[in-house]
Structures are given as structure tokens and as C-alpha cells.
């Protein structure tokens, strides 16, 4: 049986990708950003995930304004990095576990989550940056060490789905994975955030206190955290901070009882507070020993 063993929360700042692609990660500006992912890369390797279920958002790259699905599940065989206006990132094409993706699509819809199915899709920095920070430098001719199922969430046009909806979707994804007949280790990534505002006169807003309480409560108090209204994200964590709803999908897919394995927080990467957390299901930890 397939099983979800762990979750990763992670910012997906485009400038992090640019820094990796241009080889400047050791510069003083970037060093503290990447230092916090060293342990994560070791953990990721040891985790030996077969599949990463990656929750992210497209930033008006692949989805233009003609069609704005709230939840779009990647069911294509593969997903190429998209040109976001400065050329595609020089990273490997992402390969899907297509049979599992189809199974999840089927299961979610019968579970009353009316997702959109994407049979062709490119992916932007929202997906490729978390892959890069967790798996390290990979060139176009390399391969990612595992398969990836992308779930793309609309957080650009207000309103994004509620935190509650995202949390419950995580639960439904869990049910879908649990009922798949192949023996697979699945790790769920929730990406985006943390506090940041990219636009207009209040751009540059960072709220370390708010981000910290979010990270704290993600482990111990996820249900009430998922009830956070949108206005709190917008006012407290900046207009683009609402991306954090995607972390609730990840949290919902885990057990109620999780252990925090690693955390990293740094300001700034470009306009953004970088936040990162690794959570493991406690019972899967016991199984490892």
C-alpha cells in the first residue's frame, strides 16, 4: 500500500532558483538562506521518497486569466519547467507517477473535491524551487530522484480556497494515497509564503512574529490554525502571504500526531521571509527504528 510518511513546508521564492542557477549561493546574501536547507537535503535523501505530492501555485505563468481553477491536479506524464519571462530554469523535467495521479483524481472527485485535471502542463518556480532546495543542484540532463505529482492551487485571484478547505483536501489526498495498491513512500510538500507583499506601496511587509506562530501551531494546533481567515493573512503576512493556505493541504495529509524534525527561517530572500519545516508522522518514525 502507498503511504504518506512526512510533510515539508517550504517557501518557493523565485530568486532562490535564480541564485542556484547562477551559482551565487555562497555569497553572503544567500549563504544563510541555503545553510538552513543542508540538513533538509540529507533528510530528503534518507527519506527515500518514491513520490513527492507537491502543492504549489502557478504565478500567472502557465495559467493566464482565461481559466482559473481553484485546484488543478497534474496528471500528465511529465511537466517541463516553464519560461517565466527570462527563459526556463535549467533543471530537469519533472516526471509524474501517472497511475497514482489518476487514482488520486478519481478518489478526490468521489470524495466531493471537484478538482481540475491537467493532462498537459508546464511548471513554474512555485514547483521547481522547492525541488531544488530539497534535492540540490540538478542540471537539465540529470533526473530528479523521485516522481512528482503537482497540485496547483489558485492563490493569485482572491479568494484563494479557505485554509479549512485546504486542510480537508489534505485529508482526502491522504485517503486516496492510503487506498492505492502499490507500495510507495509519499512525501507531501506544501509550498509558498511566508510573509511577503510584492505589490504597491506596502511592498516589503515581513511579519516574523506571525510566521513563527504559524510554524509553531502547524505541529501542535493544525485544526485551529487552518481556521485562520484570509483577512489575517492579507493584513498580517502581506497580500502574497495568503500562499500559506497551501501548507494546510500538506498538514491535513499527515497524522494528527507529528514531530517537527527541522525548521529554518530567514529574512530576506528578495522580498520574502523564507520559512521551512519538516514534519514526520510519529508512527512512521517508530517504524523506521
Amino acid at each position: 500500500m502507498a503511504r504518506i510518511t512526512a510533510g515539508v513546508g517550504c517557501s518557493h521564492v523565485p530568486a532562490i532558483g535564480v541564485a542556484m542557477d547562477s551559482g551565487i549561493t555562497e555569497q553572503p546574501y544567500w549563504e544563510p538562506v541555503f545553510e538552513g536547507f543542508e540538513k533538509s537535503r540529507e533528510w530528503m535523501k534518507a527519506q527515500k521518497a518514491d513520490v513527492v505530492f507537491l502543492v504549489y501555485n502557478d504565478h500567472c505563468t502557465v495559467f493566464d486569466a482565461t481559466c482559473i481553477p481553484t485546484f488543478a491536479l497534474g496528471c500528465a506524464p511529465e511537466f517541463a519547467p516553464a519560461d517565466e519571462g527570462w527563459g526556463p530554469r535549467p533543471v530537469p523535467v519533472v516526471k509524474n507517477h501517472q497511475r497514482l495521479a489518476s487514482h488520486i483524481a478519481h478518489s478526490l472527485i468521489l470524495d466531493e473535491f471537484d478538482i481540475t485535471i491537467m493532462n498537459e502542463m508546464e511548471v513554474d518556480h512555485g514547483l521547481t524551487v522547492p525541488m531544488s532546495v530539497m534535492f540540490g543542484d540538478k542540471g537539465i540532463d540529470d533526473e530528479w530522484p523521485c516522481l512528482v505529482i503537482p497540485l496547483c492551487v489558485n492563490v493569485v485571484q482572491y479568494p484563494a480556497p479557505t485554509g479549512n478547505r485546504c486542510y480537508n483536501l489534505g485529508k482526502a489526498i491522504r485517503r486516496a494515497v492510503d487506498s492505492f495498491d502499490e507500495d510507495l513512500n509519499v512525501v507531501v510538500f506544501g509550498t509558498g509564503g511566508m510573509s511577503h507583499q510584492l505589490q504597491y506601496k506596502r511592498a516589503g511587509l515581513i511579519n516574523k512574529e506571525w510566521d513563527t506562530q504559524f510554524l509553531n501551531r502547524l505541529t501542535s494546533d493544525p485544526v485551529s490554525l487552518s481556521q485562520t481567515p484570509h483577512i489575517d493573512y492579507l493584513r498580517e503576512a502581506g497580500s502574497e502571504g495568503v500562499e500559506m493556505v497551501m501548507w494546510h493541504v500538506m498538514r491535513g495529509a499527515l497524522d494528527d500526531d507529528v514531530e517537527e524534525i527541522h525548521r529554518h527561517y530567514h529574512v530576506p530572500a528578495s522580498n520574502t521571509a523564507v520559512g521551512h519545516i519538516i514534519l514526520e508522522n510519529k508512527k512512521d518514525q517508530k517504524a523506521k527504528i
Binding site: 505589490q199 506596502r202 492579507l234 502574497e240
Partner: protein
């Protein structure tokens, strides 16, 4: 009863909702077209002719020509779209924020390095009104 837009009293912020999306539709569609290299070339060769293909308002069109980044947002643009126009001009997200805040690129970068803009005094429109900030 109308929807309660409880987010309209956040200062210096546009929340890109469906009303803004409707207003900015052609402007945003123009912006996203620039993510493809052949379109960037065509736009660079003749901005006016390229803009003729999009049914945006005269005001929106002028804001594009003027690269008036804040005006673009005021007229229904969204930052993820307008950033494609900025990228076409060689301006990245952080530089664009420096321009939109009126701080300038250097001062903005310094503010971010010092921990960013504090939420204190920046949560409600009345806080900005009291400070005389526009």
C-alpha cells in the same frame, strides 16, 4: 446583500479579486503574453502595433507605455502579470518593489536586509491617514 470586502482598509495594498480581474483582463493578458520570447521580440520591435492587439482601455495602454507600475495596479493589473512587463524591461521583483513603494531600489533593498517593513502602523488605512502617508 453585497460581499463584505473586509480587505479594502489595508493600506498600500490591492487585493486582486474578481472585480479587479474583470477590469484588468486585457491588460493582464497582454502582460502574460510577454513571457514568451517571440512576443517579447514583437513588442520590442513596435510597442504600439503590439498593444493594438489587446482591447485594453486608453488609460491602461498609456500606463503600459509609461511603465507606470502603480497605475497599472490601480487599473486592474496584478503584480504577477505586471512583473512580466517588468521582466521584459530587465527589472526583477525586488527592483519593481523599490519602484512601486517610491523608496527607490537601493533604499528598498536596505529595508529588506534590515528585516523588511514592520506590520506596526501598516495594518489599517487609518494608520497611514494619521501619518499623512498616501
Amino acid at each position: 446583500m453585497g460581499l463584505n470586502k473586509d480587505y479594502e482598509d489595508i493600506p498600500g495594498t490591492f487585493v486582486f479579486d474578481a472585480d479587479r480581474g474583470r477590469e484588468g483582463y486585457y491588460l493582464n493578458q497582454f502582460c502574460i503574453s510577454l513571457r514568451k520570447a517571440p512576443n517579447r521580440e514583437a513588442f520590442g520591435a513596435d510597442e504600439g502595433a503590439y498593444l493594438d492587439k489587446y482591447k485594453m482601455t486608453a488609460e491602461q495602454r498609456q500606463a503600459v507605455i509609461d511603465r507606470d507600475w502603480n497605475q497599472l495596479l490601480e487599473l486592474g493589473g496584478n503584480i504577477y502579470y505586471t512583473s512580466k512587463l517588468a521582466a521584459n524591461d530587465g527589472i526583477n521583483f525586488q527592483e519593481l518593489a523599490g519602484l512601486m513603494t517610491g523608496m527607490g531600489i537601493e533604499a528598498y533593498r536596505a529595508m529588506m536586509l534590515a528585516g523588511g517593513r514592520s506590520p506596526e502602523g501598516n495594518r489599517y488605512q487609518h494608520e497611514w491617514d494619521e501619518k499623512g502617508e498616501k
